[in-house]
């Protein structure tokens, strides 16, 4: 993938909206493109939180796994989305396992370099952190909706009483 293609991919991501061309180029320069087959594990819950990602193509499923419980898929992250807020918010460890659902291409963005750019360019830092907050707010709202169990449980039981 050429530098200019990488810049275009990053430009479309919500949390990089509104950043300067110069900062965009810096982010692209720290990026490293990686490819995974389907069902590949990209990271595991508990791994050191050192890398964030942008999904170029494909889909990553986020899972929580436990003995006797298996792995439960809780959400998916798709093309054009930022993945991995834990590293840039200084969490030491990842909170979920990320697995590809289909062949997937990602840009790896090292946490240290992203945070260093935030320090050097507070304007970038403000836009980027605001974007991360907005992404998290969207996911929080979505999680609340999922908690409401909107579709109820009647589908499993209603015809049983025939």
């Amino acid at each position: 993938m050429s530098d200019s293609e990488l810049i275009e991919v990053i430009r479309r991501v919500d949390c990089f909206q509104g950043i300067s061309e110069e900062d965009l180029q810096t982010v692209a320069a720290m990026g490293h493109v990686v490819e995974y087959d389907k069902s590949a594990t990209i990271f595991r819950e508990g791994d050191a939180a050192v890398t964030s990602y942008v999904v170029i193509s494909g889909t990553v499923s986020l899972e929580i796994c436990a003995p006797g419980f298996g792995c439960r898929r809780i959400s998916t992250v798709r093309e054009g989305e930022f993945l991995g807020w834990s590293p840039v918010l200084d969490n030491l460890h990842l909170t979920v396992t990320g697995r590809t659902v289909e062949p997937t291409r990602l840009v790896e963005l090292p946490k240290q370099e992203l945070l260093a750019l935030c320090e050097r360019s507070p304007r970038f830092g403000y836009s980027f952190m605001r974007g991360i907050a907005q992404t998290l707010a969207r996911r929080l709202n979505a999680a609340r909706m999922q908690l409401l169990n909107l579709f109820g449980d009647e589908a499993e039981s209603s015809l049983g009483s025939d």
Binding site: Q146, A155, S158, L159, D162
Partner: protein, 282 residues
Amino acid sequence: MNATPAPMPAVNPWLPRMFRIAEIIAEIPSVRTFRLAPESDETPDFLPGQFNMVYLPGYGEAAISISSGSHELRQMDHTIRAVGDVTKAIMRLGPGDQVGIRGPFGNPWPVARLRGKDVLLVAGGIGLAPLRPVIEYLLQNRREFGELKLIYGAKTPEELLYQRQFPAWAIAGLEMEVTVDRGTSAWKGHIGVVTELMRPLHGAKGKTTILTCGPEIMMRFVAREAINLGYDAGEIYVSLERNMKCAMGMCGVCQFGREFICKDGPIFPFPRVASLMQLEDL
């Protein structure tokens, strides 16, 4: 409300007309589609989004949306989830059995206003049923509309309605994104709620109309997300459900604030019902 006048029953709207069950399609757990044909020589006439009162002697009536797209075959589909007395009794019927029908009632989706526009349809669970007639209408007249996109969510992959039609809809020009709350390992699609898939359509936001049907809380979140994304609140239409009796604005059973769901709805522009949709005890 809508530019399209809703057809009212030509016959006595208090009296059920008898229809025969021509076919029953098992859709998903607890949900079946009943394809009904009139016993008389009437040709059912309805607009996308309207509903009928389906009557079963000895049990009563239930409001059920018409879920088929066209009445060329002189038939109407009703996709029914078994929840209470009437709907569970209907599930025990078989092909050839009769039900009574009063209707069609209610305001349709604002199809006449959609010409030349982009249309975003957001459905949850069995809420896809009242949207199916409008999807069929949009696809039959595909060239009259801009971008057409359906975002559909259900609890699990097994509870996605009308899956057999998805390929045909896609070929006919409907962009689709499907998501479930709980995905099995076999599920390759999205996991999450419908609002997470909402993005601005490629066209101008002012040119987009949003039609949504599903659990009421879902529609509230959909409207809120759409407004956040910059869509015009007046271009968001929701379909509401309340218990019904007369279906003609006479008995007051379905009253919702100043509105009667049966005759002023069930389809409303969001701003008209937004504040009511947040009251706990309506």
